[in-house]
Amino acid sequence: MIDFSTKAKNTWCPGCTNFSILAAFKNALNDLAGEGYSKDNFVMVAGIGCHGKIPDYVDINSFMSLHGRDVASAEGIKAGNPNLTVVSFAGDGDAYAEGMEHLVHAAKRNANITLFVHNNQVFGLTTGQVTPTSPKGYRGRSTPFGSPEEPLNPLAVLLASGATFIARAWALDPDKLKEIMKRAVKHKGFSIVDIIQPCITFSDTRAHFKDKVFYLDQNWPTNDWSKAMQKIRENSDKVPLGVIYEINKPVFEEQL
């Protein structure tokens, strides 16, 4: 087991579900290193928010970008040196509010990067404001009487934009999360993993999601766009997890 720990003191809340995402990522890195991926060629990118501190906790190359711009940074790094394995982390505020245009276009051009979204449906670091994935009626410091907006379905947007790999994961199942992360990194093209995550301080959804999440059947046809869209948009009480969609298309950097 490679030791990816660093000197940095972890400043997440005690019990934060980011610890689970961090553990899953380190384990995925370790596995990938054993499968021929070079540790030196990994770059992790992050936006700004609670998730954004994650590069400090992993002893590999990293690029702490601006809020919402991590995907653009990741695309640039990949264009600058296509031999690198570029993995970006973002929060739901980062990815789906401030930086949505970058996601849509990264998916459209099929940049060969991977994006892990820490989707806790709330702004954590700025103390609990509404994000694009917060439920309607969400009460936070900027919406004390409840948010009037319907939440965004980011995976539907990204599937429509041409993403070639779409998965959803549950932060509190680090083993499965690790496997999904590995598949996403191995996918050639734009891959996104929307990681549903409770924020134990501002939006504790542990009980809410506990019985709702379920994994897609092993025989789920990952190459069927219409079925994927149907599943992503399914208006049911259940939250499907796993790789929902995966196809192969020429990647952007190789066509430059």
Partner: protein
Amino acid sequence: MPMEKKSPIYTILVGGAAGDGAKEAAINFGRLAAKHGYEFFLSVEYPSLIRGGHNYARVSISSKKVFCDSAELDAVVALNDETVEKHRSEIKKGGMIFLDSAEDAGKKGLINIPASAWVKEENLPRLFRASALLGAVCRYYNFDIVELNNIFKEIFGEKAGPNILLAKKGYEFLQSKNVQQVFLPRRKCAGKMVLDGNEAFSEGLVKAGLKNYFGYPMTPSSSILHYLAKKAKEYKLKVVQPENEISVINMALGASYAGSRTAIASTGGGFALMLEAMAFAGVAEIPIVVVDAQRASTSTGVPTRTGQGDLDFVRHLPGEYPRIVLAPGDADEAYLIAGAAMNLAWKFQSPAVVLLDKHLSESVSTVDLQTNKVKIENPKIAGNGAAYRRYAFSPDGVSALAFPGEKGKVVKISSYEHDEDGYICDGVENAKKMCEKRFAKTKGIVVERKKYDSIKIYGDKKAKNAVIFWGSVKGPMLEAMRAVKRPYKAVQIVWLEPFDTDRFLKEIKGVKKLVIAENNFTGQLAKLIREKTGVEIKNKILKYDSLPFDVRELAKKLDKIF
């Protein structure tokens, strides 16, 4: 004036509706003159629309270097009647109009050429009319039609046929009419390279090692994107047009971090979208060349005209880190400055800003690129051995560079204030030391400046009068020198930041009357000079009507002051 006699300037104007190919025809006339050993300067004037409107290009040729096109016309090439109406008054005595018209020629100073009829006969698009008129002008100046055909072949390859055919018709038509020629002898020197300011700038970037270019279209910066995209295969570049300017700069910073020499360009509005990331580049010490090719007025402004309204802006970007702001004055300087900016950015791991403007970016001229003066200069690169620290303290403030993918090195960068290893650090002592580390680079930048012309002097170096200027004002300023009554010393500020205060004070020592000339309302260079030197320049010639200075108008204003 004696100089005028030795090397007279001939100016022709080609005008028509947008889509008539007036600009291309004028450039081809410039190229034709260049092939005969002449120099030229060409400016373009066009509204922000695709079809219709009034477009024209003015090209001044001479045996000596031409810095700016003249407003006194020797010939007008008119692809429509409007061009004649608009420019008749600018024609010198004895000048000539070449008009696309089926009417019989007869009037003095006007030659009707049935170009529309010819393209109809040949079943060709109307765009080809310009070649017929160009053929006639070729004959008028006694230029070699073979050279014109060569130009068409260079541009269109095997598809040059229709252009060659129509140029021949125009040439022979003029021959048949026995029109008195203006005899311009072929000069015995090699034809010079022809580029516009943006193209020369792009060539400089490439010579200095450019690998990645990102750009979102915005006039007048777009032609850098076009030129580099066209040359991408030849020069082994990666050229990308992302979704917006925010993406442009963030992608570019990623590419730089990965070790690739990178540049971006926009104009004021697009540049404004990049500011958060400019500060990121400053704090994270990421090398990048950033161009603001200025347009006229404010905001969307006058997109296709020129101005110098962004100097204040680019000097006062968010945050504190050592600034590098450079402004070339013509295409040859644009080449050198591109190289300087790239090498400065990498040596000092910092954004380097270059100010261009429409008059510089889009004007076309013969150039003498000083290719021996631009090369890839090596930045400080980390060796092997001790654990890599991206922001290691050093007396000169410059930490050695390493790039992701290097064996055994972990390269961590951050938009947060960070420690020497690149980890987030909000320590009080660290914040102070990191800030001082970044500003320690200023000393090195100032030493480096000595290798370059931070300030350039022209004209009468001992004159009691001096004019200060920057950017594309250089062209009209150097041409005005030939037209003024009293000589002056022309002082061009090339390095706006860090400003060369000592050199400036030395150059203006003993000068009785100081004048500044800028294409803006507030006198932004004058403000900079006052800030850096305490010298207040009261005589300001400011032009903010969206056009570059007119040589005669500028000379008249200078005469009045001196």
